[in-house]
């Protein structure tokens, strides 16, 4: 995250930008399909994560996906809460939550994440996809850039990035913002995004988290994750596991609710995200981001009506 720069009054929609969410991007960093900023409303009251399309992306397609992303369900879905209308410069926003992009997390941690963290991350993302798929929705944007790590669990963002990047039927390989390692082959060749494509993206995310790249050498993967990640990354969509099966494999200890159980019986937090799922120095980085944004101050116009 860049240090906030006072005096930089750039705005997106009604929001004044505080800082970029993603670091400028080294050569190895996975591409991000949208511009993401931490930003604040003019009255200083609300802080948000605001996104805008990359250059060359169709503004209309971006808005369509943003509108759909308002209705995502599940604890780790981070739905969009505000969206511009049709515009040459569209944007969408959600309330700010301190969180690190996965690439930043690896940089902070100093390499691939510990296996227990990867498993927890995989379980949370698998649950999120299982919920979406059960509702007939395909995320079509699962990639390392889409995954933010907050203190209590991950957040899956970048909904519809694949659909926004290019229409079905057109070759999507090499389009800006799309991570070739995370793009399922059938989607790269222009196929309509379907749930197995999300599973491919999830495989790429877990591979990235545990090795530092989306296309791993088999040997790099931790032994216990190797079959699962490899299955997700099958070229054949039919060979990839379903999200619910992945959840079962990644969080086998999650107790199934007994007969007669209601929502009141479910634990307050997901059993696959125990305290300590996130390494200490990542907690520190998340907390520091929160502290920096808390202390960030926007320049107040001289005629401000505060």
């Amino acid at each position: 995250m860049e240090r906030p720069r006072p005096g930089n009054g750039r705005r997106i929609g009604p929001y004044t930008l505080i800082t970029r969410l993603d670091s400028a991007g080294g050569s190895g960093a996975p591409p991000v399909p949208e511009h993401r900023f931490i930003a604040r409303s003019a009255d200083g009251d609300r802080t948000v994560l605001v996104s805008a399309p990359l250059d060359g992306v169709d503004p209309g397609r971006f808005v369509v996906e943003a509108q759909a992303a308002r209705y995502l369900l599940g604890p780790w879905a981070a739905p969009v809460t505000e969206c511009s209308g049709p515009s040459p410069f569209p944007w969408h926003a959600r309330p700010y939550l301190p969180a690190l992009p996965l690439a930043t997390a690896l940089a902070v941690y100093g390499g691939p994440l510990p296996e227990h963290t990867v498993r927890a991350l995989g379980a949370a993302l698998a649950e999120t996809l299982a919920i979406a798929h059960a509702a007939g929705t395909t995320h079509a944007g699962v990639s390392p850039a889409a995954v933010l790590l907050a203190g209590d669990g991950p957040r899956l963002t970048c909904f519809g990035a694949v659909r926004a990047a290019g229409p079905d039927g057109e070759h999507r390989g090499g389009l800006p913002g799309l991570d070739p390692g995370s793009l399922a082959p059938e989607q790269a060749s222009g196929g309509r995004p379907r749930p197995p494509g999300d599973i491919y993206g999830l495989g790429a995310v877990l591979s990235y988290a545990s090795t530092g790249h989306t296309v791993p050498d088999r040997d790099e993967l931790p032994a216990s994750l190797r079959p699962l990640v490899t299955a997700c990354l099958s070229r054949d969509p039919a060979a990839r596991p379903q999200a619910v099966r992945l959840l079962e494999q990644l969080a086998p200890s999650a107790p199934a609710p007994g007969p007669g159980a209601t929502v009141l019986d479910s634990p307050a937090t997901a059993p696959y995200l125990p305290a300590g799922w996130l390494p200490g120095r990542l907690v520190a980085a998340v907390a520091r981001q929160s502290a920096v944004v808390l202390a960030a101050e926007l320049p107040v116009p001289a005629h401000g009506n505060h």
Partner: protein, 738 residues
């Protein structure tokens, strides 16, 4: 933990818009607030009534200075402050982590690597402070916030620049005895080595969940800090030796912060790497929680149908509701939010009821309380003091005047705290204010009941120490204040050697002149068990105390005019009688003074000889062996009343000690008399303290007519107002007194 703003919180302070409350204490409130540019800060404020005291304002300004010295790395970064505003405030970074005491109660004692990393980081923080010639003086678990990137030291309420004597002695008043250094406890220079002592105490707490000198009453703690070996049970064996060296009574033998840091930690890894998962989880939670939408401001309490209470000149409307929140939120003085796992909603249910007016009676057959006031008083060292239209009472951080009709707070004086002895003659409250200008001596003040803020200096005794623990008010009567105080002189840590410095004094309240002084041969506040209770009767001052050296109660009389000791008498105390005397509860009439333990004794005022003894061959029911058998007596109209064992009251002829009547037991009730508090005698009833309430025994029928459930253990009659005042650690209640 953010909680909603209340209806009487301001919208803005300075350039800050208030968002939520983070915590509240007796000194002020801490808010979550933001600037027009959206910067979110913790905004500490000081109550205007406290800020009206210039000494406190100076303290607040020095605190902001000290907070700036430590800076944002080891403390909470200070963004802005206005110590001169009507409501002084300081805006600091919002610290994302729990205070250490919360961390330990939430996650249990910390593992050794955490303790080591914490200790090394705190050494770094302290050495930075010390390099800037500032000592903290109040390092304790609640002042250490654990963030993921290191601890931050907050609350420099009493930190001072070395050589700046303006606040030297305030520190002794406000410091936490549990982590105080022995030199600080004796009122001597608290050097950087004193901070090392406190740091080690904090680390013992982190590792074991308890401080090195336990907990309890301040006087007991002070004694242990000075004389007892630290309790290192629960501290990992590999850590104990180094912490023990830091806790050496001799400052010169303690390691420096640099040496300690090197011994604790080799510096590998990042701070967060050493924290246990539950603590990391709590930090994460706090980092996210502050971004939750602010809860809506609480509505004003609804109008009640009761007749409006008469105007009392109370400081601010809504003061009481603020006190309600204060009592719920805990008493940390300007501490950052420390309340446990609250939610936005938890206050809703309580805020609307309010505490004004008539609360319901607790017992089905008990009386309706006339009023109730929230007064936090952890140590319960002093009885409430009826003073005409006002009931004066000590709270944890102030002397309060409550309207005797309504219980509303009429005034408060913040610097007179429970740690200091005060006394009253029924007209005013007398006490001393700690000596800010070190060396100027003991300042005695009178607080008039009508307006407690109009204090009057009675006397300044230049040859006596003006520090807390160095003086003890004993009694006031006939225009004279009697006190014990420590003369200036060679300060010694040797407890017995200090005894020669203590004097008993009489000071004329009108002229401020010292009438006489005498050696006492004992150290007064001592180890906390030498509480004395005194009463002026005729020309004599009668005092009863519990000897530090002997197991007995010691009762003595002296001539009020000269201080000459007339007689003294030891009354055997049962071996397991651990009750202590609260000043103001000594029973005496024109003939006798009455005391009790295993039996009830009447001593002749004239010569101290035993007039009669009651209690031999009595069935005292089911009570502890070697414990008290009789409660402290009370006397009225030539009848002595005392609780007898587990059975109830007895009434004795004051002249002869013959039994006049005993309470008729009510077998349907399960009431147990308290044997450490005297009954209160009214015209119609005798009010007998029970283990969980108080019982009104009819003086005619000798039966209990009602019992009222209350945790209170301090009861006093305000006869003129027709009230029985009951005080516990959180509440003062007025019951009908007949």
């Amino acid at each position: 933990m953010p909680t909603p703003l209340t209806h009487d919180d301001p919208q803005t302070l300075g350039a800050y818009r208030l968002i939520a409350r983070l915590g509240s204490g007796g000194m002020g409130t801490v808010y979550l607030a933001r600037t027009a540019g959206g910067r979110r800060v913790a905004l500490k404020t000081v109550h205007a009534r406290i800020a009206s005291d210039p000494a406190f304002r100076t303290r607040f300004r020095l605190e902001t200075d000290a907070a700036r010295v430590i800076g944002g790395l080891h403390g909470a970064a200070v963004f802005d402050a206005d110590p001169l505003a009507e409501t002084p405030w300081m805006a600091t970074e919002y610290v994302l982590g729990p205070p250490l005491d919360d961390a330990v109660s939430l996650c249990g004692p910390l593992p050794e690597p955490s303790v080591r990393a914490l200790g090394a980081a705190l050494c770094g923080a302290l050495s930075q402070l010390h390099r800037s010639d500032v000592v903290h003086r109040d390092l304790k678990p609640s002042n250490v916030m654990i963030t993921a990137y290191g601890p931050k030291i907050i609350d420099f309420g009493i930190a001072r620049a070395l050589g700046d004597d303006r606040l030297t002695r305030t520190g002794t008043a406000a410091g936490t005895p549990a982590y105080m250094s022995p030199e600080q406890a004796t009122g001597r220079e608290h050097s950087p080595a004193g901070d090392v002592f406190a740091l080690a105490g904090v680390l013992v707490f982190a590792a074991a969940g308890h401080g090195p000198f336990g907990s309890g009453r301040p006087a007991d703690l002070l004694y242990r800090v000075r004389y007892a070996d630290p309790d290192l049970s629960g501290v990992p064996a590999s850590l104990a030796p180094v912490l023990a060296r830091c806790l050496d009574k001799d400052p010169a033998r303690r390691p420096t912060t640099g040496e300690l840091a090197a011994e604790l930690h080799d510096g590998h890894g990042e701070f967060a790497d050493h924290l246990p998962p539950p603590l990391l989880g709590e930090i994460s939670r706090r980092a996210a929680e502050v971004w939750q939408p602010a809860p809506p401001r609480l509505p004003a309490p609804p109008e009640t149908h009761e007749p409006p209470t008469p105007a009392t000149g109370a400081p601010a409307p809504g003061g009481l509701s603020r006190r309600t929140l204060l009592a719920v939120g805990g008493g940390s003085v300007l501490g950052l939010a420390a309340a446990g796992a609250g939610t936005w909603a938890w206050l809703d249910g309580r805020s609307t009821g309010g505490r004004r007016g008539k609360p319901p009676a607790s017992a089905a057959d008990g009386p309706e309380p006339l009023w109730r006031a929230d007064v936090a008083d952890k140590w319960q060292r002093q009885l409430p003091m009826p003073l005409g239209k006002v009931v004066a009472t000590l709270s944890d951080d102030a002397l309060l005047g409550l309207d005797a009709k309504t219980g509303n707070e009429v005034w408060s004086y913040p610097l007179l705290s429970s740690g200091q002895q005060i006394t009253t003659d029924g007209k005013a409250v007398y006490g001393f204010l700690p000596d800010y200008d070190e060396g100027k001596g003991l300042s005695l003040h009178a607080f008039s009941p009508d307006d407690g803020t109009m204090r009057r200096r009675v006397a300044r005794l230049a040859d006596f120490n003006g520090t807390v623990n160095d003086a003890e008010m004993i009694a006031a009567a006939g225009g004279v204040l009697y006190l014990a105080a420590r003369q200036k002189g060679a300060s010694s840590t040797d407890y017995t050697a200090q005894a020669k410095d203590w004097r008993l004094l009489a000071v004329d309240l009108r002229t401020g002149k010292k009438l006489w002084q005498r050696s006492t041969g004992v150290v007064y506040p001592a180890n906390g068990s030498l509480a004395i209770s005194a009463k002026a009767v005729g020309k004599r001052l009668i005092a009863a105390g519990k000897g530090a050296a002997t197991p007995d109660y010691s009762v003595g009389a002296m001539d009020l005019g000269t201080g000459e000791r007339l007689w003294s008498m030891d009354i055997p105390r049962e071996r397991l009688d651990t009750s202590f005397l609260i000043p103001g509860q000594l029973a005496a009439d024109r003939k006798h003074v009455y005391v009790s333990s295993g039996r009830v004794w009447a001593l002749r005022l004239s010569d101290g000889k035993v007039a009669w003894v009651f209690g031999d061959d009595r069935n005292t029911g089911d009570i502890e062996q070697n414990g008290r058998r009789y409660g402290p007596p009370a006397v009225r109209d030539s009848v002595v009343y005392a609780a007898e064992g587990s059975r109830g009251l007895v009434a004795l002829d004051a002249d002869t000690g013959k039994l006049l009547w005993e309470e008729k037991e009510d077998l349907t009730k399960d009431d147990t008399p308290r044997l450490d508090r005297p009954p209160i005698v009214g015209e119609k009833h005798v009010y007998a303290p029970l283990t969980d309430g108080i019982s009104a025994v009819d003086r005619r029928t000798h039966r209990s007519v009602w019992t009222y459930s209350t945790p209170a253990i301090r009861f006093v009659a305000h006869a003129a107002a027709g009230q029985l005042i009951a005080a516990d650690t959180t509440t003062v209640t007025a019951l009908p007194f007949e």
